[in-house]
Amino acid sequence: MMSAPALRRFTFAYATAFAVIFVVVRAYGLALFTVYPAQGVVLMGTHRSRDVVAPAMGFLAPEMFFYGWVAYAAIGALVVAMVAALLPDRWFPLWRWCVWAVPATAMIACVYLTLPWFRL
């Protein structure tokens, strides 16, 4: 059982790290696993349809990275949060702001990453 300050460091670090890691893996397309829903296949790592079949045939095997991005962010944030829970409170002077400012900034970054849809 964690103490109250350790639990606070854990949850606040988790929120902050999750947002940062999610944006990074989203920006660089790093999925822990790739889902091919039409085929019911899951492959570890990032696999793009166009890399394994002809680009014009890619629509037959749409790939999904979202679950892999979330898994990466969840596992990465868990590691960061566990480390943060062990560190002293004085190392986190800005936690009150980071816990909401970083996710809010990450959301703005996601808007930037989505802009290509709006330029088509």
Binding site: A4, A17, F66, A74, V99, A104, C110, L115, L120
Partner: protein, 154 residues
């Protein structure tokens, strides 16, 4: 089957939207329950009592959405791309990103609303609640627009 799942997803989303909207308005501008206007009474709820319900509904809604997303990718997205609904796809892409970030802030949101830890940042509590409310509203509207474009069983 997928239509039933989507309707259930919609029900859960409506409940979640109601709970988080009550809570967000109450935390931003609390009011007296005996106030004369509807809007003031709407804000006069015990906001802390909504936290666990919001978390449970958020997780359930995300789970149902994640299941429905498989069908979206194979059946709906190709249709939207063929018909050049790029903006709708962009809004939906943002929805999935925002929901993921919302999943990450749920533990901190839960902690901020714990009665036994009232000193852990009123500012963080307000900000996280408002962010979650924004995510829920955005997700509901984006999903609603996508659903309206394609329609059930069409």
């Amino acid at each position: 089957m997928m239509t039933a799942l989507l309707i259930l997803h919609g029900f859960v989303a409506v409940a979640l939207m109601g709970a988080i909207t009550h809570q967000a308005l109450a935390v931003c501008a609390s009011s007296d329950a005996r106030a004369p206007s509807f809007f003031r009474r709407f804000r006069a709820v015990p906001a802390a009592a909504f936290a666990n319900a919001v978390i449970a509904l958020y997780l359930l809604s995300a789970l149902l959405g994640a299941i429905a997303y498989l069908s979206f990718k194979t059946d709906i997205q190709p249709f939207l791309e063929r018909n050049r609904h790029w903006h709708a796809l962009g809004f939906f892409d943002l929805k999935e990103d925002f929901i993921a970030i919302g999943l990450g802030i749920l533990p901190a949101y839960w902690l901020c609303w714990r009665q036994s830890l009232p000193d852990h940042g009123g500012q963080a509590r307000v900000a996280l609640t408002v962010i979650l409310a924004f995510i829920v509203w955005w997700s509901f509207l984006a999903g609603h627009v996508i659903n309206n474009i394609r329609g059930f069983e069409s």
